[in-house]
């Protein structure tokens, strides 16, 4: 059996007396788009932070390509190729597109001074060839002057350019117009062919259902559903997100399916 790209086992996170995540395990396969769904407070954001290495789990194991990774932190996930695009804050608005694309990965000489000209040229190349974004005038343009959709596209272009292997998008569509959302979902579909797996965190089931190969539903810190796209429906996902485990049971009963 080929091993999954990322696999987490028994992840628990406690903040003081509050258990935010309770024994969560799942896998993200290679070239797979996974939807991570759930209502507010279900533990999605914490899970994203743990997967991207920003927050440390209280307990649990982390496997990358079948190999166990100890003491997961941001430096390690960066090395593995995990990139997270947090909801409307993936970029620094006061900085130029070039500086955002190369943020933390600047091309420098031996003294650490940046080669701005080279970085600008590559940025222009990336913006031309990786994603189609209309209305960008120059790599030197400030991100503050971009629309929400343009900014998301720049963030995705960055991940593709640096050959990230797992892209986690935290509520990417919440601030987007309809057309920009459509474009974003299209990028996600095509990312697969580039060999990039992605996790789409959202509470918009329709967006997730359109592009995701598999859906994981969280409820009160627990994973309550983990199904392939073919084995579920928007209705069942809605029931799970709104009603939790109880909701799934009621939905299946109403459909005459038996619970397992």
């Amino acid at each position: 059996m080929s091993s999954a790209l990322l696999s987490i086992k028994g992840v628990t996170k406690k903040y003081g007396p509050n258990t935010v995540l309770n024994d969560v395990s799942f896998e993200i396969g290679k070239n797979e788009v996974v939807g991570l769904l759930g209502d507010n407070g279900a533990g999605k954001s914490t899970l994203v932070k743990i997967m991207s290495g920003v927050v440390e789990a209280t307990a649990g194991e982390f496997f990358w390509d079948g190999k166990k990774v100890e003491g997961i932190n941001r430096e390690k996930t960066e090395e593995l190729g995990v990139e997270t695009i947090f909801q409307d804050s993936a970029l620094v608005p006061q900085m130029s597109i070039t500086r955002n694309i190369f943020m933390g990965r600047e091309i420098t000489n031996k003294l650490g001074l940046m080669k701005i000209k080279e970085m600008d040229a590559i940025t222009a190349e990336v913006l031309d060839s990786v994603v189609t974004i209309e209305g960008i005038k120059s790599p030197k343009q400030l991100v503050a002057s971009l629309s929400g959709g343009q900014a998301q596209a720049v963030a995705i272009a960055r991940a593709v350019h640096f050959k990230r292997s797992l892209l986690i998008l935290d509520e990417p569509t919440s601030a987007l117009a309809v057309r920009a959302t459509e474009a974003l979902l299209e990028y996600l579909r095509q990312l697969k062919s580039e060999g990039v797996s992605s996790v789409l965190v959202t509470h918009n089931l329709h967006h997730a259902y359109q592009v995701c190969d598999r859906h994981i539903v969280m409820n009160h810190g627990r994973k309550i559903l983990d199904v392939r796209k073919g084995d579920t429906s928007v209705e069942e996902l809605t029931a799970a997100v709104v009603g939790g485990a109880e909701g799934i049971r009621k939905y299946r009963e109403s459909k005459g399916q038996k619970n397992d």
Binding site: P93, S129, Y187
Partner: protein
């Protein structure tokens, strides 16, 4: 770092798009300016609205006014008098500009240090005492080190406890003011035998048309420019100050960057403390003599286009901001305005500059 491998395949990820957009592929790469003039023009276009250009225009206008007034009435408005020029350009501006750069770098990284003034007192006393005991070189080292350590103590409190820097450093400003009395007693610390030709040459020499302080400002300004606008660490400071979570998501460690910013802040404040101490030969403990510097340094940064919310600012802007404040102060003195008017006008300048910057922020394209 290779070029993108996708160039020959055309667009890899293509969104549903209007047909006219498809005909414009490679529109950005082909539009990259190649000539020096083209690059200059592009830079100018994207520098607009980031503070330094606008404030420079304001300063040029003010300077033109001063020069005209001084030419018409050399006695009534003695701006061009060599003594006045040397005092302003070579003494007041460099000290405030270096302090402004210190405060500005910290502000770009998203933090403040309101203990700047009392820290100057403390550093200057350390510099004076050590110089008297062990000579100027050790004294300089001790003065700068004192500045760095004070800032790192403040910075650690802010970074590790996550108390807003406004409150943490406000508290620490009283602490360092008291600490200067603790180490020195209440009588002023005075430079005597150690203020020799070497020390004066280094920090307060009059070379006729300029003084040592101005040379230091040029050196520090150039280094600061390369650091902030061209070095990757400077880039990380803009990133952390502009959007901390985005920076963290891309594996920049905000705590580390902020502590480095505090360290640089402290080093620059320590150095400015030395310039102040050598010029006046003494330092009164308790912090009252230097407390104005705190807000004037932040003012210089703000007037120069530095954002109070972090992530925005420039070295040239801050230096021009400091120059503008000192020029206004000088103009009021030459125009024989009563002392209390000076703070009034400086206050108005700061508020107007902030409003101006706020408007410009929206225009930045």
């Amino acid at each position: 770092m290779s070029n993108t491998p996708n160039a020959d395949k055309g667009t890899v990820l293509s969104a549903p798009q209007a047909t006219e957009a498809i005909t414009q592929v490679r529109r950005l790469s082909d539009k990259q300016p190649t000539t020096l003039l083209g690059r200059l023009k592009e830079n100018l276009q994207f520098v607009r609205g980031r503070g330094s250009l606008e404030i420079s225009i304001v300063m040029v206008v003010l300077l033109a006014g001063y020069i005209t007034a001084s030419l018409i009435s050399p006695a009534g408005f003695a701006f061009l008098n060599p003594n006045n020029l040397s005092g302003v350009i070579s003494q007041s501006i460099p000290v405030l500009a270096i302090l402004g750069l210190a405060a500005g770098i910290l502000m770009i990284a998203g933090e403040f240090d309101l203990s700047l003034g009392p820290a100057i007192t403390f550093n200057a006393i350390v510099f004076i005492k050590v110089s008297e005991a062990a000579g100027v070189w050790v004294g300089v080292l001790a003065g700068i080190l004192s500045g760095v350590l004070i800032a790192l103590v403040n910075g650690s409190i802010v970074v590790f406890t996550k108390i807003p820097s406004f409150i943490a450093t406000l508290g620490m400003s009283f602490f360092w003011a008291g600490a200067s009395i603790f180490v020195n007693g209440t009588s002023p610390a005075i430079l005597t035998t150690s203020r020799d030709a070497t020390m004066v040459f280094l920090f307060a020499q009059d070379f006729g048309s300029f003084r040592s302080q101005l040379v230091w400002l040029v050196i520090i300004g150039v280094v600061a420019w390369f650091f902030l606008h061209r070095h990757k660490l400077g880039n990380h400071m803009f990133a952390v100050g502009g959007n901390e979570s985005a920076a963290e998501a891309i594996s920049i460690n905000p705590k580390k960057i902020k502590l480095i910013a505090f360290g640089i802040f402290g080093g620059l404040v320590g150095f400015a403390s030395i310039l102040i101490a050598v010029r006046t030969s003494s330092m009164q403990p308790g912090g009252s003599a230097t407390q104005d510097f705190t807000l004037f340094a932040i003012a210089a940064a703000v007037v120069g286009g530095t954002s109070l919310n972090g992530g925005r600012g420039s070295v040239i802007g801050i230096i021009v901001g400091a120059a503008l404040i000192e020029l206004i102060r000088n103009g009021l003195l030459l125009g024989r305005a009563p002392g209390f008017y000076i703070t009034l006008f400086v206050g108005v300048t700061i508020v107007i500059a902030s409003i101006f910057n706020k408007l410009m922020e929206g225009k930045a394209r």
